[in-house]
């Protein structure tokens, strides 16, 4: 674990202090203003799209990925409260802030087969029913894009330097990365170091940060806002989130085993798995045997979900189907990896949607044509010619059967009874 942590910190500059105790406990808030260098790199490695170990059911020991803790301890908060004059001064500084967006934007490139755009950090708001135009009810999970901004973006060369010693090296040959933040918060309650991370982008500090791996043609200028219009209605997306954490669970809840009998002399055998390996050949426990253990709390992806509806004012997307995670929890939305669903003929906005590009004034809500809009008149099915034929043939057979068709033996018995 110590090696992993060192490798992790090596990415952000060698001068980061960790402390001696490298166990489950991390040292407290490390407030070293001079020791840490901010050379465009970023601190958080909360999530990397294609990184990650193979499927293991062991819970990862919780290591706080921030070596800079965002929040000031409660004791110091009271000391560092602002006076009114200082607050005014800060507002002035904020107004004079030099945003990187004032520089001209980089050249735009077309969407190709290999491009990988950024994802969005969203919040799962709820799951509600919606109806299709044929009257079928579907489940849609509602997702809100909260205040997403690009905090930093690094080209492939820089990105390779960051992960020089790590396992990501072969994968990131021609791939850059972007750090996106969501939900801006009050900077007065934060440490200086954490606020400084957002200075080069000219942003307010964010609550949630995550890193997305993108191809160099899809890099976005730091400071730009990412909104729900990054996607369009009808697009297919992959959604990743953490499943609900159930803690250490037995075999009945975790793997849906049947357990033991309730009665008939069963003693202490009501929720047990039974035998786990026996016999001459298999006198051992096989690898991957389903056993009790930690359930949930794992990052998982759900692929190929369609966006059925979008609300632009609230930045809300209605995605058909469900994905892991409880309501009010974070999730990540990407373009699909599925080849058949990638919109090559009707390419999405590259690298992201800018509101200046809108030629026509957009409507507040957009729908997929398959989805029923609830303010439209009720669904009525038309009577087709096939239906009329069925009715006619049915009437004919009903007329013919008593006279022409001879009654069967079964029918007689039924009539008698």
């Amino acid at each position: 674990m110590a090696q992993a942590l060192r490798a992790l910190c090596g990415a952000f500059g060698s001068s980061c202090r960790i402390g001696n105790s490298l166990g489950a406990k991390l040292p407290g808030p490390v407030r070293t203003e001079s020791a840490i260098s901010f050379s465009g790199s970023f601190v958080n490695v909360d999530f990397v799209r294609h990184g990650g170990k193979s499927h293991s059911h062991r819970r990862q020991v919780k290591i706080n990925p921030y070596h800079i803790l965002p929040e000031i301890p409660a004791v110091e908060k009271t000391q560092e409260r602002l006076t009114e004059e200082n607050a005014q001064f800060l507002q002035q500084v904020n107004a004079d802030n030099v945003s990187p967006l004032k520089a001209p934007p980089p050249e735009r490139k077309p969407f190709t087969y290999w491009t990988k755009r950024t994802g969005l950090i969203c919040k799962k708001i709820g799951v509600i029913p919606q109806w299709l135009t044929n009257g079928r009810r579907i489940r849609c999970s509602v997702v809100q894009v909260i205040d997403n901004h690009v905090v930093s973006s690094s080209a492939p060369e820089e990105f390779a330097k960051q992960y020089n010693a790590s396992r990501y090296k072969p994968k990131v040959r021609n791939v850059g990365c972007m750090v996106v933040g969501a939900e801006s918060i009050d900077p007065t309650n934060l440490t200086d170091d954490y606020v400084k991370l957002f200075e080069p982008a000219g942003l307010q500090p964010k609550r949630k940060l995550s890193k997305f791996i993108v191809t160099p043609d899809a890099l976005v200028q730091p400071g730009t806002a990412l909104r729900a219009t990054h996607f369009r209605t009808g697009d297919y997306v992959d959604v990743g989130a953490k499943t609900i954490d159930h803690g250490f669970q037995g075999v009945m809840k975790r793997w849906k085993f049947k357990g033991g009998p309730a009665t008939h002399g069963a003693t202490k055998f009501h929720r047990r798995p039974g035998s786990i390996g026996h016999g001459a050949h298999n006198s051992k426990v096989k690898k991957g045997k389903k056993m009790p253990g930690f359930m949930g709390g794992k990052y998982q992806m759900q692929r190929c979900l369609q966006i059925m509806r979008m609300n632009r004012t609230h930045d809300v997307m209605y995605i058909r189907g469900t994905f892991p995670g409880a309501t009010n929890s974070w999730c990540y939305v990407f373009d699909t990896v599925a080849r058949s669903k990638r919109p090559l003929k009707n390419p999405p906005p590259m690298p992201t949607h800018y509101p200046e590009d809108d030629v026509t004034p957009h409507s507040e809500e957009t729908f997929v044509p398959l989805l029923f809009q609830l303010d439209k008149p009720t669904i009525e099915f038309e009577i087709t010619e096939d239906d009329l034929k069925k009715v006619r043939t049915g009437a004919k057979t009903a007329q013919k059967s008593p006279s022409k068709a001879p009654p069967k033996a079964g029918a007689k018995v039924a009539g008698k009874s």
């Binding site: 709820g126 509600i128 029913p129 109806w131 009010n328 809009q373 609830l374 009720t378 009525e380 009715v391």
Partner: protein
């Protein structure tokens, strides 16, 4: 196989939600509030002192209340849901009804010969919340009991008629399954008895005499007021009924009430939109006249 009697409690049908307390609709407070129609806002007490919203909205529009689970609530999602519901209500009118009143629902059905189907029955349950809200209608047709669950906001529903507006002693009438069939048979050509505006919604205090044992589930355990029965099969069952009776301290558990109900300030927010919607529709009706 003879299982010990302690496993008998689990036999509960999937739709049935055990409801041990008394009916909210039949309570004295509800009767006082439901005495007048919505139009006479002056006579109905407000939901919160000083607000425009009448307290009767709690009982007339229970589908506007969100799920009272704090972990699953989100204010923006609730708002968006409400807007969807109002959109549907602007197209199709969902009338005032209660469990116990007789309804007729016409839906568009692709498999029916005329592409429409009509069902008449007594509402035995009203549940769900927001877009998920539903009702269950029950009728006995040719000696066979039929129950259909309708989503209130399903766009295939063309019309909902109230043939007889009344309330019962209980909020769930699932025990009609074990009652003699005349309590839940209604002809399909039943004529609607109009309910004059401004009058109280009548409380039907009929007490149903249930069939002898065996029953589908053990109705006597959940404190229903609307039925009687002759005897119980054994002494064990009676003893168990005492065990499952509502505990006395539950009446004083304030936190339990808080968790089950939505606070009044939030209710006010939820009913604001429907109040505006109703005012608009009343004005339209007046103009037509």
């Amino acid at each position: 196989m003879a299982l010990p009697s302690r496993f008998g409690i689990r036999l509960i049908s999937p739709f049935f939600v055990p409801h041990r307390c008394d009916s909210i609709l039949a309570s004295k407070a509800a009767q006082a509030i439901l005495r007048k129609d919505i139009k006479d806002v002056e006579h109905v007490p407000p939901l919160v002192p000083g607000s425009e919203i009448p307290a009767s909205y709690r009982y007339i529009y229970p589908d506007f209340l969100a799920l009272p689970d704090i972990k699953k609530r989100n204010k923006l999602a609730e708002k968006l849901n409400r807007m969807d519901m109002l959109r549907r209500r602007s197209v199709m009118e969902i009338p005032e009804f209660y469990p116990g009143s007789v309804l007729a629902v016409t839906t568009s059905d692709p498999n029916a010969p005329n592409k429409t189907s009509r069902f008449v029955g007594i509402c035995i349950c009203r549940g769900g919340n927001q877009l998920l809200s539903f009702m269950i209608l029950r009728n006995v047709i040719d000696g066979l009991g039929c129950e259909i669950k309708y989503d209130l906001y399903n766009p295939t529903i063309r019309k909902i008629e109230v043939l007889k507006l009344e309330r019962r002693l209980d909020e769930q009438l699932f025990y009609l399954r074990d009652a003699p069939p005349e309590h839940s048979t209604f002809p399909f050509d039943m004529e609607a008895t109009p309910h004059p505006e401004g009058l109280a919604v009548p409380l039907n205090e009929t007490v149903v005499h249930l069939n002898p044992f065996p029953w589908k589930t053990r109705w006597e355990l959940y404190g229903f007021r609307g039925f009687t029965y002759d005897f119980l099969p054994s002494r064990k069952v009676v003893r168990k009924a005492k065990v499952l009776a509502p505990l006395e301290w539950e009446r004083f558990d304030l936190m339990k009430k808080y968790r089950v109900q939505i606070p009044l300030e939030d209710q006010e927010e939820m009913f604001k939109d429907i109040l505006v919607h109703n005012c608009g529709t009343f004005e339209k009706k007046r103009r037509r006249r």
